[in-house]
Structures are given as structure tokens and as C-alpha cells.
């Protein structure tokens, strides 16, 4: 396959220069590379997308796709893996959908550990609704809904996923598509729930490209299954824009645990491939009079 196979005819409606393009390129390259090295088959990839600017990736990526509701990417992904464990499922949502509207699902997705990859386009703002604060927006940020500024400290999504039992926790940057591509490839190959918080400044409503360029550094951990170390590294940046901030990107934590599909013996095949002939008369047999139940 070629990267062109992944292109659609849809007109790209992201703002000119939008950092989502960096993510889209990284995703496409990761799929092509993994397909070419037989790690996956591109026609078995399903892109599940929420609602928001980043979620428009559904229209720009020619694979199987499910453009679901705001905040509901993870349960949809879980359902897809439950329906057909052989599919490669990639979830796409923003910080609004993942950390506000659908945050409960994030906690539980980490617990379930289904073999899927969740890529969060974190621009620290609701962009498609014209610039309101999300749970990861820095303190003091002023917008039309909060003219007095954000009062709460930002949520740390990496710490949240770690605390919830996530088995692959990473942060990437759309400003570095090559590094991001590698992260995505590792995430897809990790058996279990893989979570990547992708920092991608919004040119229209959360312009912090310079801040991120200055403070981001690459994390190169030798031992990835060290939870204490991951926890410490996750705390290194609190999502505020402080002068001395250090923002690590890379894999914080990776650990092999049983996946959702491995835990349930019924999930050995796509359901439509199973032969389960059922006779209706047998199904009601237990309720027949004088049928001894015990």
C-alpha cells in the first residue's frame, strides 16, 4: 500500500497551518509503515472519532471509520473490539471529549485494557465551539465563557490514566510528527489500552507553539514498567504555562497485562464468523413444566 491509499476526497476544513495536519500525517505514516512491515492490514483498521476539530480526521483518513458522539469514542472502541477482536482500533478525540464530556470512559477504558489505541488531540481548548476552556486549560486562561479566567488547576490526564491502571501511557507532540509517528506505532503494537496525549497548539484559540517548543524534551526511559518513575515523570508538567516548565514527551509507562479480549473466552472470533446454531424449542426447554431444574 501507499500513503495515497489513505487519502479521501473530502475537503480539509482545518484552519490553514492547523497542527492537526501533523497528527494526520503521523497517523498515516504509522499505518503505512505497520502495513508494509505486516504488523497490521490497513483495511482492518477502524478509526473511531469523537466530535471536535481533531475528530474531523474521520473524513480525511480512508480506513474503516465510525464518527461517533462527543465524548463516546472509548465505549465505541470497546464495542468494536468486543464485536471483532481482529480489528485494529484507533480512537481520536480532543481534550474536551476525552477529559470533560467522556472522562468516566477514560478511567474505565484503562481498567478494561482492551487492545486499542486512544489518541487525544490536546490543544487545551474547545476549538470547534470557538475557544472555551477544557479541563486541561491552564489557570488564568480567559475566554468568552470565563471572562474572569480559569480558576481550577488543570487535570493531569497522564496521572489519571496511570492511576486507572493504563498499560501504555505516552505523551506526544504534533510539532514533532516523526517522533509522534513512532509513538503511535508503538501504541498500536502494544497489546492493551494504549493512551497518547498529543500536545497540539491551536492557532486560533490556544496559541502556545513557542512555549511548547521551548519546554518540550524527549523522554527516553530504559525501564518502562516502573510505575513510580512513570508517576513522577507524569507530575513533571502540570499543564500550566510556567516559565520553568519541563514537558517530557515519549512513553512514560508500558506494561503487559491481560487484555479485554484475552480475559473473555467468548471473544475468540468476530461474532459473524461463529457457528452457533440455536433451536428455539431448546431455548425455552428449561421453563417447561415438570422439567427438573436443579
Amino acid at each position: 500500500m501507499k500513503i495515497e491509499d489513505l487519502e479521501t476526497h473530502q475537503k480539509n476544513t482545518w484552519c490553514p497551518g492547523c497542527t492537526n495536519n501533523g497528527l494526520l500525517l503521523a497517523v498515516k505514516k504509522a499505518i503505512v509503515h505497520l502495513d508494509q512491515t505486516s504488523q497490521l492490514h490497513w483495511k482492518n483498521v477502524v478509526a473511531v472519532s469523537g466530535i471536535g476539530c481533531g475528530a474531523k480526521i474521520y473524513d480525511y483518513l480512508r480506513v474503516n471509520g465510525f464518527y461517533t458522539l462527543h465524548g463516546r469514542v472509548l465505549p465505541t472502541c470497546l464495542g468494536i473490539k468486543t464485536g471483532n477482536p481482529n480489528l485494529t482500533v484507533l480512537g481520536f478525540a480532543g481534550d474536551g471529549g476525552s477529559y470533560a464530556e467522556g472522562v468516566a470512559h477514560l478511567v474505565h477504558a484503562a481498567r478494561y485494557n482492551a487492545d486499542l489505541t486512544m489518541i487525544v488531540s490536546n490543544n487545551q481548548v474547545f476549538a470547534l465551539t470557538t475557544g472555551q476552556a477544557t479541563p486541561t486549560t491552564e489557570e488564568g486562561f480567559i475566554d468568552h465563557s470565563l471572562p474572569l479566567g480559569v480558576k481550577e488547576p488543570p487535570l493531569n490526564p497522564l496521572a489519571l490514566v496511570l492511576a486507572s491502571g493504563g498499560t501504555f501511557v505516552a505523551r506526544g507532540s504534533a510539532l514533532d510528527p516523526e517522533h509522534l509517528q513512532k509513538l503511535i506505532e508503538e501504541a498500536i503494537q502494544h497489546p492493551g489500552f494504549s493512551f497518547i496525549d498529543v500536545l497540539q497548539p491551536c492557532l486560533s484559540f490556544h496559541q502556545d507553539i513557542e512555549f511548547q517548543r521551548q519546554h518540550i524534551y524527549k523522554l527516553e526511559l530504559k525501564k518502562k514498567d516502573d510505575f513510580s518513575q512513570a508517576w513522577e515523570k507524569a507530575q513533571e508538567w502540570d499543564y500550566n504555562q510556567k516559565e520553568k516548565a519541563k514537558i517530557p514527551i515519549g512513553i512514560f509507562y508500558q506494561d503487559r497485562q491481560l487484555t479485554w479480549e484475552e480475559k473473555w473466552p467468548q471473544l475468540n472470533l468476530p461474532w459473524y464468523q461463529k457457528e452457533r446454531p440455536i433451536e428455539w424449542t431448546k431455548v425455552v426447554e428449561d421453563w417447561k413444566w415438570r422439567k427438573t431444574k436443579k
Binding site: 479521501t8 474503516n64 471509520g65 413444566w289 431444574k293
Partner: protein, 546 residues
Amino acid sequence: MRKTILVGGQAGQGVSKTSSLISQVFNNLGYYVFVYRDYPSLIQGGHNFNVLTVSDEPVYSHRRSLEAIIALDDLTIEKHVAALEPAGFILGSAERASHPRLIAIDMDSVSLPPSVGRENNILVGALLKLWGLPLEAGFQAAEEEFSEPEKIQEALDEGRQLVSLREKLPRLRNRKETYFLSGTEGVSQGAIAAGLDVYFAYPMTPATGVLHNLARQQQKYGFLVSQLENEIAVVNAALGASFTGAKTMVGTSGGGFALMSEALSLAGISELPLVVYLAQRTAPASGVPTYSSQGDLKFAVNVGHGEFPRVVVAPGDAEEAFRRTVEAFYFSQKYHLLSIILSDKHLAESHFSFDRIRAPRVKVERFFLEEADPDYKSYQLTPDGVSPRMVPGEGSLVRATSYEHNEEGYTIEEEEGTKKMNDKRWAKSPLLQKEIDRLQPVQTYGQGKKLIVGWGSTKGAILDSLADLPDYRFLQISYLSPFPSQQVMAELKKAKEVVLVENNVTGLLGQIIREQTGVAIDKKILKYDARPFTPEDIIQKVKEDF
């Protein structure tokens, strides 16, 4: 011959188990049995009771007036003695508060050591004797209902020796085949018969029964039952699984259904098959959680923002629940849409006897292509609005979306495409209607010239009231969406007088009938005290008011 027995006590005293034992005795003797359960929302204490109506003729409801009360506590006597027929009796331990109608059993005179349910089983033994029922029927029932039947059998035998015959009930000729099941069991088994692959749910009374019943059988039949973090996750996961071709169903009650409603709209636009089991309870909000109501009819018929066709089917008893559940799967799979099975606490948790279970009249297939097509379009326009269905993973690219879309499933916002897709989705409607018309969406019972109209769980009480209301026949409406307007209209026109019977405050079916046929029904019997109808309620109201 008909007898109504009430078994009452605190939660934890084994009311349900004792009721099952008695039911089984009568089943074994060839009687028809109907069991109503009444319990508050608590785990221990309170006041639980079951009402069993047993008869030598088919019976589909419980009566208000009682021939026997089995009192496991004093409160049972206090609360229910007013409903006791003149010849009726209370059966209880000698420790119960004295009452002139109490047949007091001296539990201390029984040499059996203390055990769980000892008192209950002694009372059942006494009941057998009072009505001249053979002990063997009790022994057999104990074997069928309990894993260690010996202790129960001993207690039954002891109880039998403590009273003397009061009235000999007839021994019935055994019926050839008998089924005894609840609405919950009808729905669960229907889902299994339809080839259910995955059931997602979050517990909520009175839908939880289906969750438990299916979970227990998942290994036997090889399907999956999955309880997720909330109803929103449940319904979205179900749509994800449906996207891959799995036959999926979710179950909930009103509150959970409300949480699901956004995703039900998604089912509408994405045209993914989904079956929803909605077991109504008394609302608004948390309402009266362990009691019954038909208050969600219009919610089900209209659920989800925007307009999209859906199927809403409301079975009237456990046997219908089996067949109608299979039909709900059939329509969702064949027409790629949302099917709602509308039940309620009364139907879900009551037990019914049937001579037979009728075969489902439809066959649920997967209805999709399995050969790869490079030009496959998930939303291909077709004359009947049904696009050929494909699943991901077979070489074709498959798309589902919450946005308005073109045939390939990519997002559009333009006028013509938007209109076309709306027309496509609604093009299914006439076909759907045609198929539903063949599945007895309405049914009449009885010969009277006047008509009682109802739907869902009121069927039993209405049917059982007809014997006392010879001027009336009963029109049961089982499909609420698409609404069988012509058939309903024809029945309304034929009737000399029409009375609406519903378990809700404002007569929701009446509103739908008016919307769909233009006919307003003025005579209404509405019950909204969180309790189901008994035949007496209907007979009395009809005779007094109309």
C-alpha cells in the same frame, strides 16, 4: 375453580422462594398459575408479598380478593386481611398476633431442627392438607425448586399433620405441555433464540432480571454479557459491536433509557441495528423504583433528537415477550434500525402459565455481504432505503457516522444530500409497516360489541375481566411504532363504545391513537398508583362509570 393466595413477610424471609414452591405444586397438579410480586426498594425488612392466582382455566392476572394468606409476619395480616374472602383463612405460626381467621400452627410442636425456611415450608405443608392436595406434588416441587429437597420435604410432611382438610380442590387432568415463565425470561430466551451475540447493560430495576438471566446462560449458548460503567457506555459499546456485525442488545429502565437517548439518535442516523429492552418502572425520575407503570410509552416512541424510523413493540405477557423479542431483532437486523421492546415491572417480574410457546414467525439472519467490494458504499441509495450491509475486516471499507453523510459515509452539509439521506432513512417505513401488518400488530379477544383498548402488561387483567364484562371485547395493540393505524381504525369504527385502559396518568396510548387515527377516546380507566390493575379494578370501573 380459582384461588388466590398471598404470601407475605419481610425481605429476607423467603417470600419469593415460598411462592415459587407453591406455584410449582400447582403447576405439577395441572393448574394454571399467575404470580405477582410486590416488594419495596430495600434488601432486608420492609414488607414483601407475592400474590398467586391459581385456576383450572388459563389465568393471566392476580386477583385482589384472597382465599388464603400465608403470613410470615404480623404486618402481612394487618395489611391484607381486609382483602380476605368470607371463606378465606390466614395461615401462620402461633406466634403471629391472634386473629379470628388465623389458623395458628404451633411451630414448637414440630420436632424438626431449625433451618432456613423451616416455618415457611411447614405452612406450605399445612396449605396442601387444608386443600386436600397430594403431598407428592409438594415433594416433587421441592425437588424441582431446591438443591437439598429432603429438609423441605420433611417440613411439608410435618405441616400436613398439623391441620385437617377444609376444602378438597379438584385433581386436574395433567396438561400435555406446560410452560411457566416470567416476562423477563420470555425476553431473555427470545434474545437467545434470535441469536444474540452481545448483551450490554448497567443494572437497573426492573430490567436487571434479563441481565442476570442472560449472564447465567452465556457460557451455555456462547454469547457474551457485559456490564459497563454506565448506560451511556453500554449503548455506545453496543453500537460499536453492531458496527462489526454482532447482534447486540442493551437493557435498562426509564432513567438509563434517558441516558441512552443521544446514542439512540446515533443508531438512527448511522443505521446500525440495535435492540433495546426498556422495562418501565414508576417515574418521573427515581419514582417508585420497584413498582410498575406504563408511563414511558411516548418516550419510547419519540426517543432521540431528530427524526428517524424505529420499531417499538410491547408484548402483553411472557409468551408474547419471547416471540416479540425475536421480531425486534429481525427488524433491527433487516432494516438497520433501532428496535425497542417495551415491557414494565409487572410483565417482567410476574410469572405466567402457558399451554405452549408459539414458534417465532420470523427468522433473524445477519443480512450482510461477506465478499469484499472495492467500491462498497455503506449508505448506498436504494429504492427501499436499505443499503447492502458490510462489516469491517472483510476487505471493504465500512463507515458509520453521527453526521449527515453521503453514500460513502463522509460528512456533508449541503441541502440536496441532506434531503436525500432523510428520504433514504424514511423510505424503509412503508416496507416495515407492511411486514408488521403481517405479524398481528393488533389482536382482539372476546365477542362483546364494546371495546376495551390497551397495550403491554394490562393484557392479563383485561383478559381476565372479560368474563364479567360480556358486552366488551379487548383490542390489544402490540406494535406502537410504526403504528398500525388502519387496523386500529377499523376496530375502533366497529365498536359501539370504546374504553381506554392504561397504567399511567394521562392515557398515552390514547394520545397516540388520536395522533395516528384522529379518533379521540373519552372514556378512560387510568391507574397511576404504581400498582398494576387487577381484573376487579377494571370490572368495577367499567360497571360504575360506563
